[in-house]
Symmetry: C2
Subunit: 419 residues, 2 copies
């Protein structure tokens, strides 16, 4: 069981978590619980580090920020004992959760489970702070923001757990954002690959890394709500938890329940850059994208228009692509410096764009998914500025103002609206 | 160097601490720094534990509350690096600081200094969270409130440090409380034994345990202020630190500088209990104090009045003694239960009392210290309710309202007023 920061925000909520854990224990299960820091605490600690030095040492940052989960793991152990459930905390260095030494964004190598297994067999609940680990050299590490989901999946994998239940602010994975489409349906099952596509394009339910790890290790992950009634986390602490969404391997989704399209995601955190009149010669495109890649900027969608024939012998072409909005300034800087090498005429950019993606493993065996998308959007006069596809996804870039309209009409077009 | 919670309260102050440490490094010293949690943070964490369960598991309490010093040790390391001083944090489990497993009040057994020595020799400042350690079984411990002073002395002893500088809210040890006697003088030197008596009777400069450890290990401790100008800690962060008070072995105080009396302490945290008409027979007194001792209550001053001869064959006596005010309710409870066994007539108590102590190693070789005390107090009409003495201390119990008057007249009588 993994509980996020909203579920751990204050003793009253930690008590509710303890009660929820007790129900699992009483159902006869051996339980390990992975916890986040209290909501807001990690931000407070990160703020201290930045204030102490903008160029803080990441090894010391890890010492500071890992304190948040340390506190909640001790408190949950106390709250469990208070209701008669034997429990103890296991800090990252105690288990240990071994990681590499990439401080502030460490990757888990292995988790020793001998002590953990013995503790669970003896009837104790193990409470494990998420987000933290320890290097072979004995220094504290953290996994990067949102790393507690990854910790939970890693612990579940190491223990060969039957299930990894991730309690969060939402009660499952929906066919699309219910705030946009009230008739969106909660999915009973979604495959790892679909979840990866949905998570990476803006359905912020689970950290992408944790889904990748679950897929690699074959961990069955369930997303469900810590609260009943109120998806914003302000509701009454959970009494009866509703079933959530199971994230499983493709073999666990049988053909009967398989939809053509599983969900529709939207993402407004992209920015579009267009370079005009790039010389149409070998290597021109490489001279654009190689420097961006070297700077660690992820280019997503790319379109190259047909070449214009100009006065001279060589044609030229406009190149349009997207980068994360957070990397826009750095991207423009890199491209400005490469102007002579690339030879473009003008550089224009636009952050008022949105990426809409339809996702589903079902599209592997069905043609026409992309065609339905273009037809549906075209019928509403929504202009497609760029396209990208994967085996189980089709994404288009549109004007940001048309996001909600596009999601709504596509949700209907693919038959996803609840009855 | 050890810095308390007021010195670590916020990044601005941590930066000042870093600057102070840098000056020691630039003076050519190898420095280890022991830090407290930010002022108020330990209370916040203890509050969480109590709220989670009044009967919290002390092992988990240690996991929770040790987080406060973990945070400040990482932040000070970052602040030091930011001003060009190589530094790293060493958590209790990393050094390790080995303790017994008496959680929440653990005692330090040994500190491994191999890694620490190597780090210092390599030119790094070691930043060590106070108050925390680890058991042989690998669980986190804390030393009890105020334990950071003890951590600092223990680290200094283990490293055979030349000096242990304890930066605190006050700028040294005074002949008495300067708020009562403005002409109180700061002492340049005080012996361990005097400091123990002064600390245990209410001069709250250093934790008693840390002084005892310093005496046992022969660590030269200096108490000095983190701040200049304002003893309440609200002043400007230290620019030039004034010399503080050295706490040293008796052999380091030469006869020339030795005063008859070193200081005068007062303590309002005592309560007086009187049992009337206790039968004057063998074992009666034991039947009072044995149950109190079994409950862990420290009885301090005891007076037994002369026996009254009553009608019967056996005489009776009134027995008066003091206990810490915090233990009064429990003491009354224990004595009420023992009423039949003790056979007293009435039990009365009074919390409006104060203990005034004159302390000085010089009194070993001089008679008349107690006589001067009684004469001086008597001349002002101050009634002495009880007396206790040690080799280097005379204490009297008086009415609480007369505390300030008594301290003032004694300070003058022993020639302690500054010129």
């Amino acid at each position: 069981m993994k509980f996020g920061g909203t579920s751990m925000a204050g003793i009253e909520r930690i008590r509710s978590v303890a009660a929820r854990v007790k129900r699992e224990v009483e159902a006869g299960h051996e339980v390990a619980v992975v916890v986040s820091a209290m909501a807001g605490e990690t931000d407070r600690l990160v703020g201290f580090c930045r204030e102490a030095s903008p160029l803080y040492d990441r090894a010391e940052y890890d010492v500071v920020v890992s304190a948040g989960e340390q506190v909640t793991s001790g408190l949950l152990a106390i709250a469990l004992q208070a209701i008669g459930v034997p429990a103890r905390s296991w800090l990252g260095w105690q288990l240990p959760v071994r990681t590499d030494d990439a401080h502030a964004k460490a990757r888990i190598g292995a988790i020793d489970t001998a002590a953990l297994d013995a503790s669970l067999s003896a009837g104790e609940v193990a409470v494990i702070p998420g987000f933290q680990g320890v290097t072979d050299g004995g220094r504290s590490t953290t996994l990067g923001r949102g790393g507690s989901d990854t910790s939970a999946v890693a612990v579940a994998a190491a223990m060969r757990a039957e299930r990894c239940d991730i309690y969060t602010d939402v009660d499952g994975v929906y066919t699309t954002d219910p705030r946009i489409v009230p008739r969106a349906r909660k999915l009973a099952k979604v495959t790892y690959e679909e979840m990866l596509e949905l998570a990476s394009v803006g359905a912020k339910v689970l950290q992408t890394r944790s889904v990748g790890l679950a897929m690699k290790e074959g961990v069955r992950v369930q997303v469900l709500s810590s609260f009943t009634g109120a998806p914003d986390g302000e509701g009454a602490p959970m009494a009866d938890t509703l079933p959530g969404t199971m994230i499983v391997g493709e073999e666990e989704v049988d053909d009967m329940e398989r939809q053509l399209i599983t969900g529709i995601a939207h993402d407004k955190n992209e920015a579009k850059i267009t370079l005009t009149q790039v010389p149409d010669r070998p290597g021109a495109v490489a001279s654009i994208f190689a420097p961006l890649a070297d700077t660690g900027i992820n280019v997503d969608m790319i379109i190259q228009n047909v070449a214009h024939i100009h006065d001279g012998a060589t044609g030229s072409t406009d190149v349009t692509f997207t980068v994360p909005a957070a990397d826009l300034a750095r991207s423009l800087d890199v491209l400005e410096q490469g102007r002579a090498a690339i030879g473009y005429e003008r550089m224009v950019h636009d952050t008022r764009v949105a990426k809409i993606s339809v996702v589903g493993v079902g599209m592997r065996s069905h043609a026409g998914v992309a065609a339905t998308m273009f037809t549906t959007l075209g019928a509403r006069g929504i202009n497609v500025q760029a396209i990208s596809t994967s085996e189980i996804k089709v994404s288009v870039l549109i004007d940001e103002d048309e996001t909600e309209l596009a999601v709504r009409v596509l949700h209907t077009a693919y038959g996803l609206d609840a009855a």
